[in-house]
């Protein structure tokens, strides 16, 4: 009797806990996404869909320390771009410019490392500042000229990309450009002091050199963002603007300032992401081939969506995306291409659009019948 009541209240507590519902809904998205992914695998090559397809994607990340290391190294920058997008979302802004901010961040980090030979934390700071600058621009346009941030951000994505490519290449004369590799100089060769320290991380993960403390830096930022959003007056203002701009204005909140600040911070976060990536020497920048915007910028949107813009959730969603991406690269090219992981991620993200539906379903399941239909805006009446 007592026991039953305890169980009852636990269930009803869960049913009304937003956090629980979000996590559960995201997990459902993931499971269904993987199932649909398997269907896609089966369509391409039915025979190997499970053993050489799905299982490889699911298992590879954990298979060896090196793979695990790769997951972590790739997750760190993704967490940052995810935070960037999520942060702007909370303020009601869509930061599609994370890619451009990331590009500028990459330039800042590499320039300070290769040319100025600065220590890694100053390089990271430079990445942050340049990212912030690139985020601030769409913010300013939005606040003062009411130009949609998406449009400005997309334009500045490309402006940033070609600007950075030009400077880094400099017709082959740039001090950052290594003619031998046709990429920027490897920090391992020319700027060891600018690399983010590994502090034993790389030894733990099969001597994979690109595993550094970057993942901890990213988690640290996630915690900071979480605190800013949920514990501070600044976060209170930002969310108020995001939920209801008119009420925010009515309350005397300076929405113009908040729009600019929000985009600036979002840009800074994306910039740090680039810093973490390039200063961990996961790869070098290839100014002649990089005519596409860095995918990490856009994958940040996925990470943020999957996490419902929750900063802590973004850590997990990024790890997950990074994990199945690594799985994708391990697929046997005999049967599949590695892009299949992108397809699965895309499916999962697409399903996230239904997460509201899943939430209501879960709630209904827990409470037995209480089905609640959400109708438009404007409350219950």
């Amino acid at each position: 009797m007592d026991n039953k009541q305890g169980k009852q209240s636990l269930i009803s507590r869960l049913a009304s806990s937003e956090a629980f519902l979000s996590v559960a809904a995201s997990l459902i998205c993931i499971v269904i996404g993987l199932l649909l992914g398997t269907v896609v695998l089966a369509i391409i090559n039915a025979e190997h869909a499970i053993g050489d397809g799905l299982m490889v994607i699911i298992k590879s990340g954990f298979k060896s320390p090196r793979n695990m290391g790769t997951v972590l190294a790739n997750a760190a920058p993704l967490i940052m771009t995810g935070l960037s997008v999520g942060f702007a979302f909370k303020t009601g802004l869509f930061n599609i410019g994370a890619a451009g901010q990331y590009t500028l961040g990459a330039f800042g980090a590499l320039y300070c490392a290769i040319v100025l030979q600065l220590p890694w934390y100053l390089c990271l700071l430079a990445a942050m500042l340049l990212g912030a600058l690139w985020g601030a621009i769409p913010g300013i346009f939005k606040a003062y000229l009411n130009i949609n941030e998406v449009i400005t951000a997309i334009m500045f994505n490309w402006i940033g990309l070609y600007l950075v490519n030009d400077i880094m290449y400099g017709k082959g004369q740039s001090p950052m450009y290594d003619l031998a590799t046709t990429k920027t100089f490897s920090l391992r060769k020319v700027a060891k002091g600018s690399m983010i320290p590994s502090c034993g991380m790389s030894d733990m993960f099969g001597k994979l050199q690109s595993v550094t403390i970057a993942i901890f830096i990213a988690i640290f930022f996630a915690i900071i963002v979480y605190i800013v959003l949920s514990k501070t007056t600044f976060g209170y203002e930002l969310k108020a603007c995001g939920f209801n701009k008119h009420a925010a204005q009515y309350a005397g909140i300076n929405d113009k300032r908040n729009i600019i600040l929000s985009m600036t911070i979002a840009g800074a976060l994306a910039g740090v992401g680039a810093g973490l990536y390039y200063l961990s020497t996961v790869a070098e920048w290839n100014p002649q081939v990089s005519t596409a915007l860095p995918a990490l910028g856009f994958n940040g949107i996925s990470a943020a969506l999957l996490a419902c813009s929750n900063p802590i959730g973004t850590v997990f969603s990024s790890l997950f995306i990074s994990y199945i991406t690594v799985g994708g690269t391990k697929l046997s090219t005999q049967y599949y291409t590695k892009e299949i992981a992108d397809v699965i991620t895309a499916l999962i993200i697409y399903l996230c659009a239904f997460s509201m539906l899943f939430r209501n379903r879960i709630r209904a399941m827990l409470t037995g019948k209480n089905r609640r239909v959400n109708v438009g805006k404007g409350g219950n009446d």
Binding site: T232, T233, A240, N244, G252, G376, G378, D381
Partner: protein, 508 residues
């Protein structure tokens, strides 16, 4: 066999922390106007939402013409001929009136599905003509007055040939003239055999149109009465559980110095440059309630926006005490002593996705009391919110942590009023503060306004309701087409005289 078109039997609907409907039975006769009366949060909207398929009840059943029906969503309701005008409208702001009306039932060619708007327009205009529901079919909803938005909602139901019409507080947002019209329209509809469920807090309206009235209190069914044989006093007692006194006893006035002084204020429309507020000057002094009266859309909203900083002024000056505030930001004005109960509680008054407590500190979260070094003091906020909730009797499912969105309309309004009055500012600008409140709450708010006045504060009341205009203030300024066309003394004027000024037929 039985003459009930709709029967809701033993309906129970729970929300987290509250039983909104507790075993309620309501029977609607064909062709009658059935009023639903109850305090804010009594569960009226919830009950109607159950009928309209927005909520599924835990217990109870619904019958139409004696047969049990399942209403799983508004489409089911629509198929059964049940339509609803919600307390807070559900229109697509960027669509035209016509598009909103036909949304979901767009007439289209059979083959290719091209929209047949001409046909729809004809039907809408015909309905509009027949029932006197004036609308501009091509205007965007975001540009039209609330009155017209409501007429759009009504047309939406009529367009769908609904026979059971639910009106959730339709008169709360209307001007007295519009209310009279609506009453006529409703009677006309009932005469044509439509059955109407009518939620209102105004007993006069129930007296004027309703045949029967069901009373709810705190989620429970109290009774159903015959309107003709029951007095207003009896009804309000049934509803509140005590006697209510709406005629205020006013203390003698102790006038002080001027708190708000407006000089030659002009606000022009951004769109067409026409003056919406035209060279307006007036004062509000300590210890007085000044009321701006007028028909909706005569510049009252813009005047208030200009005073509170939500809109830029084109010329003229505004003083708060000795301080000129004409070009100050909203925050500076608030901190200089201006409180504002806004006209639109959903657009401006509340962040609906915030909790009640976060809304209660919307104007002072940055205050030393609630924040330190930029960090919010959650326990302080909770304590303060609990205090206000208690003092102003704001009812909700889960107290301070209730989502503002889930609160009943009247309680949302009470929360705003609590927040604004508790700022303790010298000037209180109250726009339609009793809109949508039950008589008990109206009594409370009016007393509160008078208390502000008696404690030496200045109150600027903007109201569309004649009885409020005549009852509460010490001074009436009538606005017509952006100008102040008359100043009246409420003790020596009549509703008729006031009406003439409001209609622009007289000025002094």
């Amino acid at each position: 066999m039985n003459d009930y078109i709709i029967e809701m039997l033993n309906i129970t609907k729970e929300f987290p922390g509250i039983i909104a409907n507790d075993n309620i039975t309501l029977q609607l006769k064909k062709g009658e106007i059935h009023a639903l009366l109850g305090e804010n949060g009594a569960g009226k909207s919830t009950l109607m939402s159950v009928l309209f398929g927005l909520y599924q009840p835990e217990k109870g059943e619904i019958r139409k013409n004696g047969e049990v029906v399942k209403i799983k969503d508004p489409n089911d309701a629509n198929a059964l001929g049940i339509g609803m005008v919600h307390q807070h409208f559900k229109l697509v702001e960027v669509f035209s009136v016509l598009d909103n009306i036909i949304l979901g039932v767009e007439p289209a060619t059979k083959r290719l599905g091209f929209l047949q708007k001409a046909e729809a327009r004809r039907k809408v205009m015909e309905l509009s003509e027949r029932y006197g529901l004036k609308v501009d079919p091509d205007a965007l909803v975001e540009d039209i007055t609330v009155g017209m938005q409501q007429r759009t909602e009504i047309l939406k139901m009529l367009y769908r040939d609904n026979e059971v019409l639910i009106f959730d507080e339709p008169t709360a947002v209307l001007t007295p003239q519009e209310i009279d019209e609506l009453m006529k329209i409703m009677k006309g509809l009932a005469a044509e055999g439509k059955s109407i469920l009518f939620i209102t807090h105004k007993l006069d309206e129930i007296k004027a149109v309703a045949d029967r009235c069901t009373v709810l209190r705190k989620g429970r069914y109290i009774g159903t009465i015959d309107v003709a044989t029951t007095s207003k006093e009896e009804m309000s007692e049934m509803m509140v559980g005590r006697k209510v006194q709406l005629v205020m006893e006013k203390q003698p006035q102790k006038l002080g110095n001027s708190v708000l002084s407006v000089q030659n204020l002009t606000v022009k429309s951004k769109k067409h440059g026409k003056a919406l507020v035209n060279n307006v000057s007036f004062n509000v002094r300590r210890g007085e309630i000044t009321c701006i009266a007028g028909i909706d859309g005569n510049g009252q909203s813009e005047l208030v926006y200009a005073l509170t900083g939500l809109m830029k002024t084109d010329s003229g000056k505004i003083y708060l005490g000795d301080k000129e505030i004409t070009h100050m930001s909203v925050r500076e004005r608030n901190l200089s002593g201006l409180s504002h109960i806004p006209e639109d509680r959903h657009k401006h008054g509340l962040v609906l996705d915030y909790t009640l407590e976060n809304n209660l500190v919307l104007k002072r979260y940055f205050d030393k009391q609630f924040a330190k070094n930029g960090f919010l003091k959650f326990s302080e906020i909770r304590r303060y919110a609990d205090g206000l909730i208690e003092k102003y009797d704001v009812r909700s499912g889960q107290g301070a942590v209730t989502a503002a969105r889930s609160m009943s309309g009247g309680n949302q309004q009470k929360a705003i009023i609590a927040r604004e009055i508790d700022l303790g500012n010298d000037l209180l600008i109250a726009v339609q503060p009793t809109r949508g409140l039950d008589v008990g709450a109206i009594e409370y708010i009016r007393k509160e306004l008078l208390r502000q006045r008696d404690s030496g504060k200045a109150v600027l009341l903007v109201s569309l309701e004649l009885d409020e205009v005549l009852e509460v203030p010490d001074r009436i300024l009538v606005m017509y087409e952006g100008e102040i066309v008359g100043e009246l003394d409420p003790r020596h004027t009549t509703a008729k005289e006031l009406g003439l000024y409001m209609a622009g037929a007289q000025r002094n």
